[in-house]
Amino acid sequence: MIYREAGQFKTTYPADQQVFPIRQDRIAVAMLLVVAFIVVPLVANQYWLSAILTPFLILALATLGLNILTGYAGQLSLGTAAFMAVGAFMAYNFELRMPWLPTLVSFALAGVCAAAVGIVFGLPSLRIKGFYLAVATLACQFFVLWALQRIGWFTNHSASGVITAQKVVILGYTFSTPVDKYMLTLCVVAVLAVLAKNMLRSETGRKFMAVRDMDLAAEVIGIRMMQTKLLAFAISSFYCGVAGALYAYTYLGTVEPEAFNLDLSFRILFMVIIGGVGSILGSFMGAAFIVLLPILLNTVAGPIEHLLGLTLPAGLMSNLELIVFGALIIFFLIVEPHGLARLWQIGKEKLRLWPFPH
């Protein structure tokens, strides 16, 4: 009744090819943007903005980056956090050594540096596949973090290795409050997400998908394997690099190698899997799920403890959290291996027929 495309006739090619061809989708996206840009900054408190929403957006961007590589181009990677680290540290160095550079430009250049690193570590993908490649990308994870810790130039010879990020100043305005940082992150993420959405339905995106589905067949029909795979690594790493710069500048406020450990790589991979492999919407849903899950567990744990009339020691609590987190992931994979995006799709199909399913 509400959600169906019946009666929406397209008379021009541009109208037929727009990103969201169904009017209801366009309205929903517009409303989502209004909520994100206007309602949330007005309503949300500082804790929500700086501890939940900003990291959610940043991790969603990194997830999107990994999803381009894993979900669309089919190359499994466990080195996401390393690309983010490259982005964060290069942004720091651009800010430090070229202060005249506009901040957003230095973020973008940091992303380009991450893309270059991505291309180097993407080279093995031309020879190896599957889990071999996944383990090979671990080399990137360990090597990059090692290099960032050992080579003094990256950290500007900081003794502790933990550097305070410079202030983010754009056009003379200093982004210091949680709302500012949230808005900055949101703008970057929104622009990059739209770009990704468009890229993935262009020739490039189709090439990626052909390589994912069967690379040998893709090669046979004339897709250049080297170009396509390396491009996938470059674009994915660019997204991760920008996400890393944002992670350091708008979320942590510090630039440190330890923030970008293997654990983060795995978390982002979880977000891709749980959100839905090969789905942009899924990237956001997966990020939301993984960011909110520990908070939810904590919130639920309090009343339960109260109800049972006992206080659990902190160590026990964190272990229980670990178990529940792991079990939920397994449960989720069993129930819906195609991720949250698939659930959303099923919901939409149902909604099209509602309220007359026959």
Binding site: M214, I329, P337
Partner: protein, 299 residues
């Protein structure tokens, strides 16, 4: 170059490599039989070692504790097959891989929930001291414990080889590894076989846990040795027991040699990434590892 020192580093590295092989073996067993890349192997090692140590500390006899831990690992293997593998049959490999990462969290949480998070010492009665005969006559220091670990690994591989080659279950395991469908068609119970494989992997995890625990203490850091076993795996090939052994030896030796001879030039800490880069360079020449199965691709 001082050849005695070189030899000492080399042998030390080879013996350390045997320890990696012990962990890699567990990976290979499961991958061969069920095509699952079991990331939880490290957590299983930790779980087994912690269970064993805690039982011994509570006054249980050494051998009884080993049997009890083995029983726990059997139950764990069956539970994993029931609760995780069975519902995920026919899913893509990456989904199974993610499920084992989830399993890692559960196992880490469970083991610390039951036995506490404090590190334990583990004494097997083999001192981690240089062998006297060697240091006196040849002039190189080789740890007694390392040699012991190598012998244990050798026995383990021999036992596994006999088990795989001669017993009925072993033959069934090899059949399943070869071709799931064909194995099902000739009447091999796939579920039982998977439960057995996970049990055997649990047993290997127990042995690896005992060795690593005696060496570094039983603590949370034990879960990270799984990461050490990964380059061994890609170097040796995912499907090959022999590959796990040879890969472990190569990684162990080259890692130590690199740390000693290259480390000083680049500021040390090479051990964290050198095995991976070595394995990566190796893969560029042989994409399926040393003994991995060659992929035949068709359109």
């Amino acid at each position: 170059m001082n050849w005695q020192f070189f030899l000492e580093v080399l042998v030390g590295g080879l013996l350390a490599g045997v320890m990696y092989s012990l962990v890699a073996l567990g990976f290979v067993l499961i991958y061969k039989a069920s095509g699952v890349f079991n990331f939880a192997q490290g957590a299983m090692v930790f779980f087994a070692a912690l269970t064993f140590v805690s039982l011994v500390e509570r006054g249980m006899n050494f051998w009884v504790a080993i049997l009890a831990t083995l029983a726990v690992m059997v139950v764990l293997g069956i539970a994993i097959e029931r609760l995780i593998l069975r519902p995920l049959v026919n899913q893509p490999q990456i989904t199974l891989f993610m499920a084992t990462i989830g399993l890692t969290f559960v196992l880490e949480g469970l083991s610390q929930l039951f036995w506490g998070a404090q590190p334990h010492g583990l004494e097997l009665g083999i001192p981690d001291e240089p062998m006297q005969w060697l240091s006196e006559n040849v002039g190189i220091n080789i740890s007694q414990f390392d040699v012991f670990a190598a012998v244990v690994a050798g026995i383990l591989v021999a036992v596994l080889a006999v088990f795989f080659q001669t017993t009925r279950i072993g033959r069934a395991l090899r059949a399943v590894a070869d071709d799931h469908q064909a194995a099902l068609a000739v009447g091999i119970p796939l579920r039982q076989i998977w439960a057995i494989v996970w049990t055997v992997a649990g047993f290997v995890a127990l042995v690896a846990g005992l060795m690593w625990g005696a060496r570094n203490g039983v603590q949370y850091a034990l879960t990270f040795i799984a990461l050490k076993a990964l380059p061994v795996l890609i170097l040796g090939g995912f499907e090959s027991v022999a590959g796990a052994i040879v890969g472990g030896l190569i990684i162990g030796a080259s890692e130590k040699l690199a740390e000693v001879y290259l480390g000083p030039y680049v500021g040390g800490g090479l051990e964290s990434w050198f095995p991976y880069v070595l394995a990566l360079a190796f893969l560029l020449v042989r994409p399926e590892g040393l003994f991995g199965e060659k992929r035949i691709e068709r359109v």
